[in-house]
Symmetry: C2
Subunit: 314 residues, 2 copies
């Protein structure tokens, strides 16, 4: 056990439900990211402090990072304590994997400090307990890219089967309209049954998208970024969605859609200049609507959660 | 125009509806294959002769190769004639892409003899007219692998978007029970709506299967060869299906399922010895049931339709 070191953890934002990849595809972003600090203690228990202003619960059972750490410690079977300080830069409820960043960052950090006992897949399993606290459902399409970095396919949740995918360099333009879309509402409005012909169209697109990533084929990625099942229903919860999407594609974005269950919208672009134009268009739409927003221009984060030792004076 | 040459065409059998890849994934086999002979003529019209015993219609409009050639000639806009002789070795109604082989073989041959005016994608488009004659529906998941060879993804039919996929070496064990499953029946028993959670499972598997092929990952291919939507319904039309599948997987097959709309069953294997064992198990099941059958052990055909000039004395 390393009781001496204090480490700093940077846990990236993630985009889940990658257009046609509902519930199975996610990718990690280089911006924004949560920053956390952790050290071990001989005094058992999990002590969480939030230095951000989001007024999140700090009781371990109710805190997403806490729930993930409880699962971690249960399997580690060592009587140690953990002190964790969280500074969230990914706003909760943004659709950018805020809860996943806390859960994933916490277990990656704890694993590092206790001698890297567990595999990435184990860590995803622990961190999914945080997602359960946040949304009531164990899902991995934010957690997995947050931990593995890059683009990840979750072929199956039970049993867990995570497949990291390579892809070509991509710029990602993101807009986060400052409205609230509750994940539970976004789940509830989905139809429980879908037309077989729509499902076939969707799995043609998901197969095309995975091929496009693995073959570094930008055109194929663009052609496959189409969601005929989830987006038509969920996008009605996001004012300005259609204008943003249409404008972004006209400006040369490969495509994109709702990030997670929204309200953030993301667009994948081949060139930085295109992403810049897309960001401008996104902003103009929300200026007109009169809804506050925040934008990001970033790239795919191929590292996942990063750990930095804190040296004195830092 | 090449009015002198007579060519021989070998058009491979194909497996469509590759387990979770219903309507979008197919692969070409090295055995069985149809053999056709074609030459051009200055006398307009399409003249078809069958040298097999299947009693198929020879009027161009009613013959699958004829329908494909009509579409071909319409776009070629040249006043030529075609003489075609077909010896089918892929039994019609086997689920092994018999009609696709005739249609695809005919248009590839005609394109060769008229100076290769058209792209493979054009040829798929023409040959789909043959599928319409055979089953009432234009589909490309037999035609595309037959023409391109290998494993092909049909991301979309309208507009046509074909993506050839690479894959690791695979042995394919096939059993063709000598019973009739009509494509129209096999279509009719499918439910028009599917549960969203099943659709998600299916697109997780199709994404896994495509990744497995492109990453040459046999284990991932095996884990992804699962169909929760079509197979549970259609397999009831094929006596012995469950025993064949269970026995084949116990013998080490990666997985498999119904070929096309059946009744043939195929199993993908990493090793030749496994495929041999699977063939034995398949045969034993049908011996017990008392249904006649034919088996093949073959590999993925990466050439597609092949053309050979016929030299004198041949």
């Amino acid at each position: 056990m390393n009781y001496q070191s204090k480490i700093r953890v940077k846990a990236p934002a993630t985009v889940a439900n990658l257009v046609c990849g509902f519930d199975i595809l996610g990718l990690a972003l280089n911006d924004p990211e949560d920053i956390m600090e952790m050290c071990l203690s001989e005094q058992p228990g999990i002590r969480i402090k939030h230095t951000d202003g989001y007024d999140l619960p700090v009781e371990p059972e109710k805190n997403v990072a806490g729930a993930a750490l409880i699962a971690f410690l249960q399997e580690l079977k060592k009587d140690i304590g953990i002190d964790l300080s969280i500074n969230k830069c990914i706003k909760p409820g943004s659709g950018l994997g805020s809860s996943a960043a806390s859960s994933a960052g916490a277990v990656v950090a704890a694993n590092y400090l206790t001698g890297n006992t567990f595999s990435n897949e184990d860590l995803v399993r622990f961190a999914m307990n945080g997602e359960k606290v946040a949304s009531g459902v164990k899902h991995a399409d934010n957690i997995a890219p947050c931990i593995y970095g890059g683009i990840t396919l979750i072929r199956s949740i039970f049993p867990l089967d995570i497949i990291p995918l390579s892809g070509p360099p991509l710029y990602v333009a993101v807009i986060h309209p400052q409205i609230e879309v509750r994940t539970s509402d976004a789940r509830q409005i989905l139809r429980k049954e879908v037309k077989l012909k729509d499902a076939i169209k969707q799995w043609g697109n998901i197969a095309g998208l995975v091929s496009g990533f693995l073959k570094n084929d930008y055109n194929l990625i663009g052609r496959s970024l189409e969601d005929v099942i989830i987006e038509p229903v969920r996008s009605i919860l996001i004012p300005g969605f259609d204008q943003v999407k249409r404008g972004s594609k006209e400006a040369g974005a490969l495509g994109g859609g709702i990030s997670g269950s929204g309200p953030s919208i993301f667009m994948l672009c081949k060139e930085k200049t295109t992403a810049d134009n897309v960001q401008r268009i996104m902003s103009e739409v929300y200026e007109k609507i009169g809804v506050d927003y925040k934008t990001y221009i970033t790239t795919v984060n191929y590292n996942g959660v990063r750990i930095e030792p804190i040296v004195k004076g830092n």
